[in-house]
């Protein structure tokens, strides 16, 4: 009946006739090429260029001294007090932000995982801070911290935490708390939503089995919920740490790294070095140092994950 089917081809057999070489050695890479080309252009080339910049002197304000300088930038970095201050600030900023975001995000996820009215609406609303443009939230938080127009210094003073309603962002000892507060507000939804998804994937009968076995609510949490969340916790904490360590937007808008470099973190230092001082060589060296530190951190975390996560 089907006159168009060549009788030489058995049913189910491919009708395409291609040499083995084409099919197995070349064809797969043709399909992969869009992704490979894109990743190469967008990520690998800039990475190599950036790393090569860190071994050169490229300062727009000093155009005569352009050229390869070996490890000069790194040597300067080693003896640069501002770099070490920024590194310490980066640690403090990242650890405080990630810890608070994670802790509060987990709490929020546990709350959202309970049954209550309008749960879906609340879940959607919780995600809102994530959708606000960073500079808008930074500006808003900067105003909230401003004692002239913002309420926060007055509340803190009323609670006795501050002696008087001063400008927190202007006090070198306290300034970092401003961006951290904004960052926590901004980042809680990410943890809440991802952890909520992980929570919802835990089979309910495990809790029933544990209940029959005599486990209390706290034991259910530590012996079932946490082990189940562990893979998600490991991956989200790693991602967030990397993002937050690189996340200079809030700091740049709220304090600009000041006062007296008290809120300068490595990524904002890279930004000011590159685009204020226009010293691309030195900025690249700082960026490579930050990249190295984050790679070491990720490697350690993945190792820990391998050891503790069994699911």
């Amino acid at each position: 009946m089907n006159v168009r089917t060549p009788t030489t081809v058995a049913p189910g057999e491919t009708r395409a006739r291609s040499p083995l070489y084409w099919r197995y050695a070349v064809e797969p890479f043709v399909y992969l090429s869009p992704a490979v080309i894109l990743i190469t252009l967008v990520m690998l080339v800039p990475l190599v260029v950036g790393i090569s910049y860190s071994f050169q002197s490229i300062a727009i304000l000093n155009p005569l001294k352009t050229g390869w300088v070996g490890f000069d930038n790194y040597a300067a970095l080693w003896s640069d007090g501002k770099f070490w201050t920024a590194l310490g600030n980066t640690l403090w900023w990242t650890v405080a932000s990630v810890t608070l975001q994670f802790g509060l995000g987990l709490g929020l996820a546990l709350l959202l995982n309970r049954h209550f009215h309008f749960r879906r609406i609340v879940q959607a609303l919780v995600f809102l801070p994530w959708a606000v443009p960073t500079f808008l939230s930074a500006l808003t938080w900067a105003w909230l911290f401003n004692p002239v127009i913002g309420p926060i210094p007055h509340w803190l003073a009323a609670l006795g935490i501050l002696a008087e309603p001063e400008n927190i962002l202007g006090d070198p000892d306290l300034a970092m708390w401003g961006p951290i507060a904004a960052n926590v507000w901004f980042g809680i939804p990410f943890f809440a939503i991802t952890l909520l998804a992980a929570l919802q994937s835990i089979p309910g009968d495990l809790y029933e089995a544990a209940e029959m076995d005599g486990a209390s609510a706290w034991q259910c949490f530590t012996k079932i919920t946490l082990p189940f969340l562990a893979p998600m916790i490991a991956i989200t904490v790693m991602l967030r740490t990397i993002w937050i360590a690189n996340f200079a937007d809030l700091i740049f808008v709220m304090t600009g790294g000041g006062p007296a470099n008290a809120t300068q973190i490595l990524s904002s230092y890279v930004f000011t070095t590159a685009f204020r001082k226009l010293d691309f060589g030195y900025a690249s060296a700082i960026a490579v140092a930050l990249l190295g530190l984050l790679l070491v951190y990720a490697a350690i975390l993945l190792k820990i994950r391998q050891k503790f996560v069994k699911i």
Partner: protein, 358 residues
């Protein structure tokens, strides 16, 4: 050791009643099987006994103590779940010893009890494995081990074998029977599989539509079903039920045949005659109560199943012990074993049950 009493126990979700006035006494050491079609409320009843589902009304007592508001962990009952509900991040040993870990039992006692239970269940070599590295049957054993180790006063099983293949199901069924013999603990077992119910139970509770239809020993239910539902639910292949009219000293079938049944009540009522496939004999055409044409004949070796089309009555299934020479298309006579016949009133209740086997 546990004696359980359910007094007018009810369960409703909002205005939907799923269980009505459940009255049941379970003796210490008894093996009770709750059986019924899906949606009949059997799992809900089990979960109410476990404490995982609140009881909407009535009283539930264990050893005379009211349990309605007692938390599951304080009821001292172990449960084996249909999904096994093994903790996937814990190895077999920790899964089995979890209840002792929770109670803070010393590690060496825990290890000893786990090893003991593992030996009886044949899990000794698997103690360090994670659940995902086990086969279905092994997971089932671990779930049972987790229950045994607690030495509870009652075991609950929620369709524990439904995820296993047929061969393994038979094996685990025997294992559960052996476990009950060895421990002598009260067990309540939920299943929709009547073979499991008939083979395991001391007493079977047949549930349908939120009501208990009948409680009795497996043979009781087979020989003396209280109504048409139980008659058709218990026994395989299913009982044949055909419309009939009460007549003096028997019933008259729609095709005009008269079946003599002693001790039957009023004549003239519309009733139904129930007869199990194994209680019909195949005789030569013209020699039986009914005339039929064989539509399909299955030779199973030990038995022969005949799907017959009875003249003026419709389809009927006949099961004959051994092999007979019948083939599809043959004309047959069917003889109904009157002493094994059931008669049901229009509302389904049994008017006459099979005579007690001696």
């Amino acid at each position: 050791m546990a004696r359980m009493e359910l007094r007018n126990v009810r369960k409703s979700y909002g205005s939907v009643e799923v269980l009505r006035d459940i009255d049941l006494d379970i003796d210490d050491g008894e093996f009770i099987v709750l059986v019924g079609p899906s949606g009949c409320g059997k799992s809900t009843l089990l979960r109410m006994i476990a404490g995982l589902e609140p009881i909407s009304g009535g009283d539930f007592l264990i050893d005379g103590e009211r349990m309605n508001d007692v938390r599951p962990r304080d009821r001292d009952i172990a449960m084996v779940f249909q999904s096994y509900a093994l903790y996937p991040h814990m190895d077999v040993a920790r899964n089995m010893g979890f209840s002792m870990e929770i109670r803070g039992a010393p590690a060496e006692e825990r290890a000893r009890r786990v090893a003991e239970a593992a030996r009886t269940l044949g899990l000794d070599t698997l103690l360090q494995r994670l659940p995902k590295e086990l086969s279905g049957g092994q997971r089932q054993r671990v779930a049972m081990g987790r229950a045994i180790i607690r030495d509870p006063r009652a075991f609950l099983f929620d369709e524990p074998l439904s995820n296993l293949d047929a061969a393994l199901r038979v094996e685990m069924r025997l294992e559960i029977a052996r476990l009950h013999q060895r421990l002598g603990t009260t067990m309540i077992y939920v299943t929709h599989d009547q073979v499991e119910a008939l083979t395991l139970a001391d007493r079977i509770v047949v549930l349908d539509g939120g009501d208990i239809q009948q409680v009795g020993s497996p043979l009781d239910l087979y020989e003396r079903p209280a109504n048409r539902f139980v008659a058709r639910f218990i026994g395989s292949p299913t009982m044949n039920v055909v419309p009939a009219t009460g007549a003096a000293g028997g019933v008259r079938l729609a095709d005009g045949a008269r079946i003599a049944l002693p001790h039957l009540g009023d004549a003239g009522n519309a009733v139904e005659l129930g007869i199990r496939p194994e209680h019909i004999d195949v005789v030569g055409a013209g020699a039986g109560d009914l005339e039929a044409t064989a539509e399909l004949v299955e030779h199973l070796g030990s038995d022969t199943n005949v799907y017959a089309q009875v003249d003026g009555l419709g389809p009927m299934m006949v099961r004959v012990h051994g092999n007979i020479a019948a083939r599809a298309g043959d004309r047959l006579g069917l003889k109904i074993q009157a002493r094994n016949a059931h008669v049901f009133a229009a509302d389904g209740t049994a008017l006459r049950r099979a005579e007690r086997s001696a």
